[in-house]
Amino acid sequence: MVPDVVWLDQGPGERPRYLPEPEGTAFLEQVARERPVVPHGIGLSIGSAHRFDREHVEQMARWHEWLRFPWHSDHLSFHLAEPAGEWNVNLTLPLPLDEETLELVSSRVAEVRRRIGVPFLLENNVYYFAPPAQDYDEGAFFHELARRSGCGLLLDLHNVYVNCRNSGGDPRREIDRYPLDSVVELHVAGGMEFGGFYLDAHSGPSPRAVFDLLDWVLPRCPRVAAVTFELFGTWYGVVGAERLRRQLGRMKEAWARHRPAPARAAS
């Protein structure tokens, strides 16, 4: 659910709150006639402590009525906070991976799963900083979250790559910490250097190291049902159709090499 593409959110309490964007919804309608459409949201802010946006969940429930997607996902993060009135910082900020956060997110995941009867996944976040002295690392947090709430994992390989490249970590060791038997979807993307960091910018082809991770992780994820390449629309003209096709081709080759089980995400 990319903002500005498929709907306009007029804000909590507004009626109607969500205004559909005609071109985007018409495009989805057309695609949905031929293949499953799987939404990947950015708007839920599931870790916001000051409120849980149940209107957003209801909007996703309406979309499930419409598109009958086999699963849906959002991010393990927050972007809504309340310093003085509600702010939307426009970026997915890392949650402190503590027991308090785990309780909060577990109960909300369970609520989403009760309301929308298909698997719900959360994506591992990209970090340019992390709160010090946390109770869990992210892999252990996802293990416990899956155990308590049945949350699935959308494992973004580029996010792991970015985090490790910026912090000096080993991506395979990091990935091994996650509950790989909960992975339903994998993400691949490209980035760029900026300000002394490597960014998850979705701005071009994926580094070879990320494709190596894809090859390595696919046979370790028994429930994986999809691999998605992420590219911001504004970069499409720079990347071009041919390079994009080559990226998708490499993903298909990796899929064919490992032939994961068919797309049946466990409920």
Binding site: D4, D9, P83
Partner: protein, 200 residues
């Protein structure tokens, strides 16, 4: 309550200009009550983290991108230096509240409109780009409006062609006129002077 206060503090670190340096200078005194010692310590440490500064830059660049996308003629007219100053002033008073281009651009246009007298033609360009924003905003039926009628104080032919070409206009001709603004099927805007005026 503590997590709520921590998230509010982190949001301020990445979206409130000047807050990280205040926190570094004043320490805990710059933080709100309700934080546990661990949260307080985290925020104090994060205030000096390069990754937090980078995130603040990303937040600012997202906000800037929305303004550039939705108000290109306004940005060209006021120029880079003034845009930088106005954004700084706007961001100090208006924290980010929405993902959506429309909301951010409409709020910034409102901010500029209160200062528009300082730049000849700015009020007209803002009127025009606000009309385009409204045209692009879906209505309750899910469809954008088809056309809008606006009143300008300068001849649009002395104002718009150079702005559309990415240049500031050299000389503006004062002339009150009504202009109808439309969006084509491809989303491209067109303007037509009313009451027998020539198309623009």
């Amino acid at each position: 309550m503590s997590l709520r206060a921590y998230q509010a503090g982190l949001a301020r670190l990445v979206a409130e200009p000047g807050f990280p340096s205040r926190l570094r200078d004043r320490g805990s005194a710059a933080l709100p009550r309700g934080l546990e010692p661990r949260e307080r310590e985290r925020l104090l440490r994060l205030a000096s983290e390069p990754g937090v500064a980078l995130t603040a830059t990303l937040v600012a660049s997202f906000r800037l991108g929305k303004v550039l996308k939705a108000l290109p003629l306004t940005c060209t007219l006021i120029g880079k230096d003034r845009l930088r100053l106005e954004l700084r002033a706007f961001w100090r008073r208006h924290p980010p509240t929405s993902f959506f281009t429309f909301d951010e651009a409409a709020d910034f246009a409102g901010h500029l409109a209160r200062r528009a007298r300082a730049v000849p033609g700015l009020l007209d360009v803002l009127t025009l780009e606000r009309a385009l924003l409204e045209l692009r905003r879906p209505g309750a039926g899910g469809r954008p409006a088809e056309a809008r009628s606006i009143r300008l104080r300068h001849d649009p032919r002395s104002l718009l062609p150079s702005l559309v070409a990415g240049r500031r206009p050299r000389r503006l001709r004062r002339r009150t006129c009504r202009v109808t603004v439309r969006l084509g099927a491809d989303g491209a805007p067109s303007f037509a002077a009313q009451a027998g005026g020539r198309g623009v």
